[in-house]
Symmetry: D2
Subunit: 362 residues, 4 copies
Amino acid sequence: MSNRIPVGVLGATGMVGQNFIRLLSSHPWFEVAYVAASPTSAGKTYAQAVAGRWQMATPIPEAVAKLVVEDAGNVEAAKGRCALVFSAVDLDKKAIAALELAYAAAGFAVVSNNSAHRGTPDVPMIIPEVNPEHLDVIAAQRKARGWTTGCLAVKSNCSIQSYMTPVWALMKAGYRPKRMILTTLQAVSGAGYPGVPSLDMVDNIVPYIGGEEEKSEVEPLKVFGRVENGVIVPDSTITISAHCNRVPVVDGHTACVSLEFDGAKPALEEIVPIWRAFSAVPQELGLPMAPKQPIIYSDEANRPQPRKDRDLDKAMAVVVGRLRTCNVFDIRFVGLHHNTVRGASGGAILTAELMKARGLIG
Amino acid sequence: MSNRIPVGVLGATGMVGQNFIRLLSSHPWFEVAYVAASPTSAGKTYAQAVAGRWQMATPIPEAVAKLVVEDAGNVEAAKGRCALVFSAVDLDKKAIAALELAYAAAGFAVVSNNSAHRGTPDVPMIIPEVNPEHLDVIAAQRKARGWTTGCLAVKSNCSIQSYMTPVWALMKAGYRPKRMILTTLQAVSGAGYPGVPSLDMVDNIVPYIGGEEEKSEVEPLKVFGRVENGVIVPDSTITISAHCNRVPVVDGHTACVSLEFDGAKPALEEIVPIWRAFSAVPQELGLPMAPKQPIIYSDEANRPQPRKDRDLDKAMAVVVGRLRTCNVFDIRFVGLHHNTVRGASGGAILTAELMKARGLIG
Amino acid sequence: MSNRIPVGVLGATGMVGQNFIRLLSSHPWFEVAYVAASPTSAGKTYAQAVAGRWQMATPIPEAVAKLVVEDAGNVEAAKGRCALVFSAVDLDKKAIAALELAYAAAGFAVVSNNSAHRGTPDVPMIIPEVNPEHLDVIAAQRKARGWTTGCLAVKSNCSIQSYMTPVWALMKAGYRPKRMILTTLQAVSGAGYPGVPSLDMVDNIVPYIGGEEEKSEVEPLKVFGRVENGVIVPDSTITISAHCNRVPVVDGHTACVSLEFDGAKPALEEIVPIWRAFSAVPQELGLPMAPKQPIIYSDEANRPQPRKDRDLDKAMAVVVGRLRTCNVFDIRFVGLHHNTVRGASGGAILTAELMKARGLIG
Amino acid sequence: MSNRIPVGVLGATGMVGQNFIRLLSSHPWFEVAYVAASPTSAGKTYAQAVAGRWQMATPIPEAVAKLVVEDAGNVEAAKGRCALVFSAVDLDKKAIAALELAYAAAGFAVVSNNSAHRGTPDVPMIIPEVNPEHLDVIAAQRKARGWTTGCLAVKSNCSIQSYMTPVWALMKAGYRPKRMILTTLQAVSGAGYPGVPSLDMVDNIVPYIGGEEEKSEVEPLKVFGRVENGVIVPDSTITISAHCNRVPVVDGHTACVSLEFDGAKPALEEIVPIWRAFSAVPQELGLPMAPKQPIIYSDEANRPQPRKDRDLDKAMAVVVGRLRTCNVFDIRFVGLHHNTVRGASGGAILTAELMKARGLIG
């Protein structure tokens, strides 16, 4: 028998849930022991529940295929079957918020892919290479909420991850961003399945993604914030304006970024070496899901491109290119990441690995 | 017999040339009487020359199909056969520059789709709704160059036309732009045929178009400039930063624009009425190719979209949407235009119509 | 005031309904005077009802935009407002069948885009160039059902129309098909909006369309059948095997056809002239929606192609190419038609025109 | 130092060559020790030679990146550096034919991806699961041509591999095909880079691939043939008619097949078990590139689909679905394979493994 930590996936039958199942299938630390979804799926085997809906390019892992799906709303059912749950449930925001708190209160470590608790002050929103120390807030979280083993951490919206790490690397090198104007070209997998109609994506793009621009402008401030008095205090020095577009790409969000610094400005030739040398806590800890090189810079004039670069380093790297001077601000560049791996399930798993390494799980 | 003005198309067999042929097929003022292309095509009928390469969705106009293609390099051959030539030749920039001057020197009015003379100070770069008075420079052009009936005007790069007219409408209303950061999502037809490989456009976008960003940052300054001492003096008060991307769309360039004003700023609710009320010289003159409403504003949250909006008003309107406050600058919006009609052949024909109305042709 | 015949569109807010509205906007005989849809839309103006859902590339016709949408289930409401209704309602098959009968019983001429009555023996399934004389069954239909002015005709499934007219042209020339094996590559518009998910259509095709192969194998037999004793007796001499695929094309169904003749076989060089010379009742009557040339044969090696050929002759022509010998049967060819015009709304309007010309309407 | 067999890749910089480099990067038996291409690339490192042209989604393997590219036309240069060469050179057919013979004559085992020698009677065209015993012809080949260690084997055209193995599995079970009519929907990677223009693949399909139908109708006969008197005698009992289409898919050719048997016909319910149980020489020998299960049958109604199924079992499986009765012939099904792996480089590597296992290399 395995001595891996048993984990659960809530919302296991949706696109994000399927990615969790796929990515965890050969994980050295975690083992999917529990799958839960809507009452409609409950009682079926996982294979039955996703029949005709499995969207991954690899088969359903055999060990998970035969698990019986539970009702995600039934917290009791999960007890004793797993220590950690990944949340990808598809409910209204309020219901998700309540459900995730219930799991945490019941003693589970909860790592959520949902946006419901991103604004909750004592819930850390983690990009493991950027703000791992925000996990420190969990002690206060547990104390304030009377939880013992339970806790709750979330990942940020996927669309911001194409540039957060590159910007952070510059911040760590002493160059603070002041203003950013950016445009994203986002993949259809971000909207799940069935998601975006093909009539919108054949010979077309859609210059709008509901709620996405607002998230893109607010979430980075929390990620770049600091832990103070048991809560995360968002950064208040950076202003962001985002234009978010949907394009006919399966996976991989691209961002075109114009960036202005506050005070010291790096010379253009300093920047690529900073990015290439960047390494952070997940790399130092050798976490299983961590990319070896969190930021890969491409020297080719027309890269990064989603289909050709999204899978680099287990689809966990941020791939950057086209660094050049900005006529209006200081610099311009293009960033890319794999939105359903780095930006969703993979990022959540890396966060859980970080939590495990910090003793917060199990 | 027709009393329409006989016109020639140089580079008639390429994509832009084909669009000229298509759009001129039922023009009330102009009649294609002369087609010229590379020496390879010379001597064939037009139908033979484009066999297997005709990319338009309507058949080759019968009257043009049987014209014998001439060598575009042979200026003499065109004499007596047309008064106006549209230039869409595909040569190196220097050769194009020389050839267009040769046609003008030989007495032809030349309206060019090429970039070769966009930087030439006494050559007007016309967006008919924006700077029709730049045609005034042609008197000086003729005098300085010793031309009599000949003259040369060019159209701007297509990619900027998604936002030039909307910005100009605000300028006319008293609101001057100071800084613009914009990202374009450009259609593949802009690169001609064969152009962009499908391996770059299936499940992919390319965040780079050679030379396009530079043109996007320089050309608007000339269009917004003024005629002084026989040349166009570019505007020097506006700074532009452009990110240009290729996306899997057949026709229609989309631009996401963040705009900062210099001095007076319009209230958000003033702007849409300004755009909807905007009308200019082509509308006043009732030019055949002029859209009735040069700027169409869409109230729907997710528009404009290229496939659904590019064909509005003979594909000659600029369609705008998503006007909102910019966190960083003053306003944000999305603009769209049909790149091979409004942005290329259609725009050149409208320019020729304007020249005809001003007595510069025939 | 117009003296056009007032017509109604049932299911006016869906994709097919929108196409009816678009195509009828400048029809010389018919005028949209009545629009009906689901109870959810009832009471709104048409513009309100389709807000955010209008998929056409031209604006909502002004005259229709302000019509108040009625409940399609309320037959009484239509009385006195129109003589003819086009049915594109989206209900379950049984409910559609009943509703269309109710409209016919109430005195309306009904032309349906739905499949509900395609199998009803006394309801003609019309491809106007192929079986116009099937309208003769309407006399018996009226008598048997006790209808006076009311009547019901349907159009066939779109997917078969890429080859029905070409095959029929050969039949008329004396060459009877015996066996056909064909594969279709069908556009996403055939599934309506939202319809096919983009995750199925980016870097993908789907080799299955529910129910389509069965329709493709049965409906041609009825279209090629004969009127006898007040019903349509299907042809029993032809056998068809169809493979139906969904491909990332907006509009335009392509079919690859292998055909075996029964008895006399045409020489390959006879066939294209037969197709090019083919003309039928709609052409003879000069019906407004009729293409001038029902079958356009392309000599180019790689045509027809959906985006480049679907719009020929008001998108009402069938475009054929690649005629060649079949190793296994007798001949092979590729056929294409515009599925939402020729294959749906346009074909239904042409049928209605034929009915009007035959004195069956108004 | 490695004791893997040093191999060369001729035409290493093209798409097929890049796939060889990618697939061989961690091969247990073979090691890329030699890369050759056109004179233009010769003298550069491999990394330099493919700069801006590397199309794989994984980085250039480090060991190959620094190899200096040789001129593929220079057979002498390869001597002593490798025992086996994979040929993916891009020359005219005649030049390829001569060059491959020259390498074989010089003592190299040559496994070719090109079509030049597919019709050469003493050159085996191998699909390793179907006709491994055709390698027996190499003894005669060597004798007749005076070669000692050199030899030449080729792989078949990719488009036929979506159905060859499934049909062969039925043949082995005693059911001989008599007639087949099939339609392929082929990926753009089959045409290399730049290959198919995006203007042909956005909102479009192309119902023609030059030479592909002819290959599809002839090559299966050789693969199903027998070795006799030192040559391969093609099967003469099967007749095939192929319709080949290009569709906007990156990788993965789909085929819709109608099949008639000669004599005994399997019951429909026998067939899937035959396919699922099928195993052949590569599986018995445990060849590194061999899929565990050569034919994977999917029970889902709408599979196989290229993006979702092409990568199964190292992209080396043929994925089949939609088995059903054919109205005209006996059965119908859909087959899919990964055209640049199973159908090109992967298939050639598997063939080389088979040759190694048979003692024909090294």
